[in-house]
Symmetry: C2
């Protein structure tokens, strides 16, 4: 938790610190990020940093919080109105918004990506339950679709949910290139459509 000193900091300075932090955590896994680099980039003295945050963990958790907040806001309306949507239509919609989010905050996406893939020491503290939760929510929606006759009964809901989580986060992000956003944007959507088509209809003929 940042100290109130940090909270009260003039906006410009606070932004410099947040930006430097985001930049660093978006370029390497948690363990490799060094406070030294952050303060160098943010142009604040070492002593000041420790006046704002206890240590790297403190800073990291703060930044993750910021990202979560931003995400909430971004996906809010869709997540509040998914009633009536078929599961895969919701996935499609969330994915499209996800691409928009990635375009707007590419570094946030990188940070979350590092967190997901590297499972740093704080992973459990921060994400584990969220991911499992997401999978369960999905599995639930899938069950509902089964009940409505949209999805075959013999499909394992949890596996299906895992596939969606896996594919939409991974193959998607694979196309994400911070330096060539607009191009990757198209590719991500295209790729996702292909993926969903396969999931919907399968690949077998006849």
């Amino acid at each position: 938790m940042p100290s109130k000193t940090f909270i009260n900091l003039e906006a410009e300075k606070r932004k410099r610190i947040v930006d430097a932090t985001v930049f660093e955590f978006a370029s390497k896994p948690y363990e490799q990020v060094m406070i030294s680099d952050i303060i160098k980039k943010a142009k604040i003295p070492r002593g000041s940093f420790y006046q704002y945050f206890i240590d790297k963990e403190d800073l990291y958790i703060y930044i993750i919080g910021v990202i979560k907040q931003e995400k909430m806001t971004f996906f809010e309306s869709t997540l509040n109105n998914y009633n009536g949507l078929k599961f895969l239509d919701l996935v499609r919609k969330l994915y499209e918004e996800g691409v928009q989010f990635a375009l707007k905050y590419p570094r946030y996406v990188k940070i979350m990506d590092f967190l997901m893939k590297n499972k740093n020491p704080l992973y459990d503290k921060i994400m584990a339950e969220n991911v499992l939760y997401a999978e369960k929510v999905y599995a639930n929606l899938i069950d509902q679709d089964k009940a409505k006759g949209y999805i075959r009964e013999d499909i394992d809901s949890l596996t299906f949910a895992k596939i969606i989580v896996q594919l939409t986060t991974n193959i998607a992000v694979e196309e994400l290139d911070i330096d060539n956003e607009v191009e990757s944007f198209k590719r991500m959507l295209e790729r996702n459509n292909q993926i969903l088509k396969i999931i919907e209809y399968g690949v077998l003929k006849g």
Copy 2:
């Protein structure tokens, strides 16, 4: 490349070093592995290490080589006889063998997993072409299946290939627990069957 001094080392000592190395690279990403820990675990003096390997990179590339070798041998027969197999049957077979491999060498799998996910500085040097190659080989087999009428023509072969690579390596490995191998074994196979069913037939009803 290890020095000939290392090659000529008495087997027991060499094994100690290899084991310690494998252990370390299987527990953290490349950058976080420290030579200090390896020599401590292998019980060799610091000076000796540098008599065998130039540095961490040298050691790592050597170990990756060992793993690749072992993999080759393991998958050899299947990969030489895939003619006539439908693509998804080959995938199934490779996956089953993959599980066996993971059971036999769980740490090797972890090491490759770190390499794939973290894309350390040596990634390109070692894997990039391999992965792309795998995807292309798969895409090729998929095309053949299309020609034979097994797979729908409107499926994007590369996307399909990517899905297979992604799912069989990720969701699969997710179940891999070094400390509870036999249990995870069953779960991995079960999970994979579910995945393939979805890929084959899709999830939609009717």
